[in-house]
Symmetry: C2
Subunit: 158 residues, 2 copies
C-alpha cells in the first residue's frame, strides 16, 4: 500500500498507532526554520534521544523493530522512502505494509512509529538524505531487533 | 577571541555556563549515524523543542538572547560560525566574545548556551548549513530578545 502525501486523507488508514503530523516550514531568505517536535505537541510523551541517520543515495537501512522505543522521524534534507510493517499479533492492522515518502517541501511530516512495528528506509534523492529521530527513550541495543533487508519474514522487496 | 576545535583545551576558557560536548559520528557505508542529545547526558535537564535552522552561504542569523531558554546546538550539515557574547551583569565572563566553528567531521560538537548570552551565527560553507537546536523549553517569542546584526551594543563586526 503506497500512501500519498495528503495527510488529511491518509490519517484514517494508517497502521494502528502510527501518527503523521504536518510540520511547519517557516520561509526566510537567509534560510528556513523547520519545526520538528515540541514538548507541548499532542502526541509528545517524553524525550529519550535525538540523533541523525544519513542515508546515501540508493542505500537501505533496516529492518529494525523496537520493543520499547517509539520513533519520531522527519527528513529535513533529501528524500526518504520509509516502509513500515505491522507484525503485532493482536493488532487490527496486522500484516499491513505501508510506504511513505518523507522530504521537503511537500512531505515534511513527523511520523511516529510505536514499538512492535518493523521499519526500514532508503534514500531516493540525488543528495544524501538526513533523517532525524527524536525517540522517547535513549537507544538501547537490548530492545532493538533487526532483520536482513532481504528477509523472507517481511513481505516487501527492496 | 577565536577558539580552536580541541574541546579538551578550550573547555576551561569558555564563557561561564557554556558547555561543549563532543558528539559521536558512527561511520557506515550506507550513511553515518550522528549523535545529538540523550536524556542520560550529564548536561541534559529537560526537553522543550527540537527544530532546525537552515543558513544560506554568507548569511547571518541573530543577534538573539533568551531569558529562560537554554540552547543545545549542533551542525550536522554544512559549516557555521557561531558567536556568543556575555552581557550578564554579574557574570565572571561579562564582556567576553567567543567564536566557534561548528560542522563535521572535525567540529561536531553540541554547544549549550544558557539564558542571558547573546548569540548569532553565519554559514561559512558552500552548501546551505543545517543547524539543529534541542532547547530545554519550547520557543516563546515573549522570552526572546533580538538585536540587529550591526548593532553597536555588541562589540563584534559581521
Amino acid at each position: 500500500m503506497t500512501l500519498g502525501n495528503d495527510i488529511s486523507q491518509i490519517a484514517g488508514s494508517l497502521i494502528d498507532g502510527v501518527l503523521l503530523t504536518q510540520l511547519k516550514q517557516i520561509s526566510d531568505e537567509r534560510g528556513a526554520v523547520l519545526h520538528m517536535l515540541r514538548s507541548d505537541a499532542p502526541d509528545f510523551t517524553q524525550f529519550g534521544e535525538c540523533y541523525f541517520s544519513e542515508v546515501v543515495t540508493g542505500c537501505v537501512k533496516g529492518w529494525k523493530c523496537h520493543e520499547l522505543q517509539t520513533q519520531n522521524i522527519a527528513v529535513p534534507r533529501g528524500r526518504i522512502k520509509l516502509v513500515i510493517y505491522d507484525r503485532r499479533e493482536k493488532s487490527a492492522s496486522q500484516g499491513i505494509i505501508q510506504e511513505f515518502e518523507l522530504g521537503r517541501p511537500d512531505a515534511y511530516f513527523r511520523i511516529s512509529i510505536p514499538p512492535g512495528i518493523w521499519y526500514a528506509f532508503s534514500c531516493i534523492s540525488d543528495e544524501t538524505a538526513l533523517l532525524v529521530n527524536c525517540a522517547d527513550v535513549p537507544h538501547d541495543p537490548g530492545e532493538c531487533k533487526v532483520l536482513e533487508m532481504r528477509t523472507r519474514e517481511i513481505p516487501y522487496k527492496w
